[in-house]
């Protein structure tokens, strides 16, 4: 005999609040990765009487490699299917590996080869998990999509707002700053107000087969280490990617003086990195810039690492674009505490972000995301440091 325990009141209330946006007879497509979070979402929505269809995306087929436990592995799709069977909802796998390669993997490799520090998870969320997935969900007739993201969508003053998750440890709002009004209107994040523990407790209570599954890795498609991955990809498609320099990089200081040679290829270095340079100096040296064209790393002491601001591209506002400069808290990487800043909109999707206090580690390629309290206003991709008006 099985003991049936109702999910906790907290969980019921939180989920009810999110799903109340969806009409009673709406069909909800749940993006099922085979992980704990999206599995719990499918189960919760089904349990609460919605018409739920599970859709999984085959993003990166590495069935020959052991990448189990990572969000885009084909093996996990087997788990997604098994969970859907367990819940009793229809489930389909959509082949999206071509798109994933074009929109996420190729730019990831290109960014590294160009000396930038890519944000593949931002690109994956923007291009794959929302743009394309919503399109596919539409095509099969779904009214809403639901995902296991930890973030909240709130109805604001005539527009949809994106907010951080209630549980800041799990917050994924940073990766979602490129979402549009239309996408927010059609998306449900049932876990946004919950903690991971609550979600796991629910899965255990329901005896879901993924209840004990761990977290997915940050860069799901890299099984072998970034350097090896980038080298393999570049070597496999020499006509597509520029050939990376094979000789060690020249290490120079800010005056252009050569200090030595790096031990690893230039694309292994990220702005702000201290380890692995192998040059002796009276004070600790950090990577200030990666110059792919000249195979050169610019290094300097800590004080030169800080920048008073950044120049961004692909500026995006979730709500109505502001008329003038905006004061906000800006996060320049996913685990950054944030800094007060003023954002100036420039032409052609560019932005200048001036920090209240200079920041370390402004890394080209990373996302700078703007917050007002818990609300995500928008963001941009970091193109470069901004050195201030009078240097």
């Amino acid at each position: 005999m099985t003991l049936v325990v109702a999910p906790s009141v907290e969980l019921e209330t939180a989920v009810a609040k999110v799903e109340s946006r969806a009409a009673r007879n709406a069909t909800i497509a749940v993006a099922m990765s085979g992980g704990l979070d999206s599995s719990a979402v499918a189960s919760l929505l089904h349990r609460r009487g919605h018409s739920v269809v599970g859709l999984s995306m085959l993003l990166w087929d590495q069935s020959t490699q052991r990448v189990h436990g990572r969000c885009c592995g084909a093996l996990d799709l087997g788990d997604a299917r098994a969970v859907a069977d367990e819940i009793g909802i229809p489930h389909y796998t959509l082949r999206m590996d071509d798109e994933f390669r074009r929109h996420v993997v190729d730019p990831f490799v290109e960014d590294y080869l160009a000396g930038r520090t890519p944000s593949p998870c931002v690109r994956c969320n923007t291009w794959i998990k929302f743009d394309l997935f919503l399109e596919r969900a539409d095509a099969v007739g779904a009214d809403y999509i639901a995902t296991g993201h930890y973030a909240r969508i709130v109805e604001g003053d005539g527009e949809w707002e994106l907010h951080q998750a209630a549980c800041l440890d799990k917050d994924q709002s940073y990766y979602l700053f490129e979402l549009t009004q239309e996408q927010l209107a059609r998306s449900l994040f049932p876990l946004g107000a919950l903690t991971k523990n609550t979600v796991r407790d629910y899965a255990r209570q329901e005896r879901m087969l993924v209840a004990e599954k761990g977290e997915s890795m940050e860069v799901c498609f890299v099984a072998s280490g970034v350097q090896q991955f980038v080298e393999e990809q570049a070597a496999a498609r020499p006509d597509f990617f520029p050939a990376p320099a094979t000789t060690p990089s020249e290490i120079v200081d800010t005056d252009g003086k050569v200090l030595g040679r790096s031990s690893a290829p230039y694309f292994r270095y990220t702005v702000g990195q201290r380890r692995g340079l192998g040059v002796a100096s009276s004070e600790p040296l950090y990577v200030l810039g990666v110059d792919a064209k000249n195979n050169r790393l610019e290094v300097g002491p800590d004080r030169e690492l800080v920048a008073p601001g950044l120049l961004g591209e692909r500026l995006h506002w979730i709500g109505r674009p502001p008329a003038g400069p905006v004061e906000a808290t800006v996060r320049i990487r996913s685990r950054h505490d944030g800094v007060g800043a003023t954002i100036h909109t420039l032409d052609d999707g560019l932005a200048r972000v001036e920090f209240e206090t200079p920041q370390r580690g402004v890394a080209p390629g990373q996302a700078a995301v703007f917050y007002e309290g818990t609300r995500v206003l928008g963001g941009c991709r970091i193109r470069d440091r901004w050195e201030g008006t009078s240097v």
Binding site: V53, L77, R81, P90, Y92, T93, L94, R95, A139, G141
Partner: protein, 388 residues
């Protein structure tokens, strides 16, 4: 919108080439063997003897369906096992394998895996009619050829292959012919002697028998190596305790197929023709290989400008089960290798559905299906959001 998965019986099932529902008479015959008649055919006692008698009866039933003799019939777990066994045995001494590119992966992939130093595998593609030319297949045969494999009917297109002609012409050259007849048996007449084959495989669940029992017919005197060893079952050709209930079911399914073939064929063809006549009235619809000799129940249709995987999902959510061809365990759809080999481009291949009818389908189901199909195709074309 999403239909209740707890009631699969409410669905109209048009995917009989994947598997077909067992005939109730088959199930009835199997049941005692899942209960009181539980014996092991190798046992000496009466319980074992009863099981053995049941297996031998099934062997005669299968032999009769094929026009062969009972001792030539070997039971296996699946068509895949039977095909694997024949291909492996043939390649044991090295030489050439000539395989049509239409073959099921249990032949095609098995041959490719064996290819190497001693084994040379030649794959022969079909023409745009979905048929592998006998001349082209025979042109690939040389003195070293150990086996030719040509299926009787293709699982996706339903096209019938010139097995009898190939068999007759190979006979003089002493090269054995393997015929995978899994999709054909029970739908068209199959006679091993008329086909001049040396090995022929069939699977119970494709013609209203149970999953888990298949048969390999081996011409008397043709060489054969066991895949499974360590027991004397099946005259030392396949070790392991016989799956008695499934074998009994396969036998009964064979007997029913032999008795009712003409009637069955007429029924299937009526359903298929009804579907094809009406579906071609829709714009932008092509029936692949419509002019070729085909199985009576299979229809392979391209819907111009439609992503077939999306269409399949939409149809499934409305209660109609169809197929896009081969799918792996996680449900991912690939463009059909068969269509690509025929020279059809990937876009059209990904716009194609396979519809395979069965005995329990009715004209009313087909009419309801056509109505929903028309609606869904129109919606998909209208939204024009179909990713390519």
């Amino acid at each position: 919108m999403a239909t209740d998965l707890s009631r699969p019986e409410d669905r109209a099932y048009f995917d009989h080439n994947a598997t077909s529902p067992p005939d109730p008479r088959v199930v009835e015959a199997m049941l005692p063997h899942l209960g009181v008649l539980h014996g092991n055919p190798s046992s000496v006692h009466a319980v074992g003897q009863a099981a053995r008698a049941a297996v031998e009866r099934a062997r005669r039933q299968v032999a009769e369906l094929l026009g062969g003799s009972a001792p030539e019939v070997l039971f296996t777990s699946s068509g895949t096992e039977a095909n694997n066994a024949v291909v492996r045995a043939a390649a044991a001494g090295g030489g050439r394998l000539v395989v049509s590119s239409l073959e099921h992966p249990s032949i095609r992939v098995q041959a490719e895996e064996l290819a190497g130093q001693d084994i040379d595998v030649v794959s022969v593609t079909p023409g745009p009619d979905g048929i592998v030319s006998a001349d082209r297949l025979l042109d690939a045969v040389n003195e070293d050829t150990r086996l030719v494999a040509l299926m009787l009917a293709n699982n996706e297109l339903g096209t019938l292959q010139p097995v009898a002609e190939v068999g007759r012409r190979l006979r003089d050259r002493g090269v054995p012919l393997l015929c995978d007849a899994v999709q054909a048996v029970g739908k068209v007449a199959v006679d091993v002697h008329e086909l001049h084959v040396d090995y022929l495989t069939l699977g119970g669940h494709k013609f209203h028998g149970p999953i888990g029992a298949a048969a390999l017919w081996v011409r008397g005197g043709a060489p054969f190596e066991a895949l499974l060893v360590g027991g004397g079952q099946e005259r030392h050709r396949r070790a392991s305790t016989e799956n008695v209930p499934a074998i009994v079911g396969l036998g009964v399914a064979s007997e029913i197929a032999a008795n009712e073939l003409a009637e069955r064929r007429r029924h299937l063809q009526e359903l298929r023709d009804r579907f094809e006549q009406r579906v071609t009235a829709l714009a932008g619809v092509t029936i692949h290989c419509a002019g070729s000799p085909r199985l009576p129940h299979t229809s392979h249709v391209a819907f111009e400008g439609v992503d077939a995987q999306t269409l399949l999902i939409r149809l499934d959510l409305r209660g109609f089960a169809v197929s896009t061809g081969a799918a792996c365990a996680s449900g991912v759809v690939e463009p059909s290798a068969t269509l690509l080999a025929m020279g059809i481009d990937a876009k059209e291949a990904l716009a194609s559905l396979r519809i395979s009818f069965g005995l329990t389908n009715t004209p009313a189901e087909i009419d309801a299906f056509l109505e929903v199909l028309q609606e869904e195709v129109a919606k998909l074309r209208h939204t024009a959001e179909v990713p390519v």
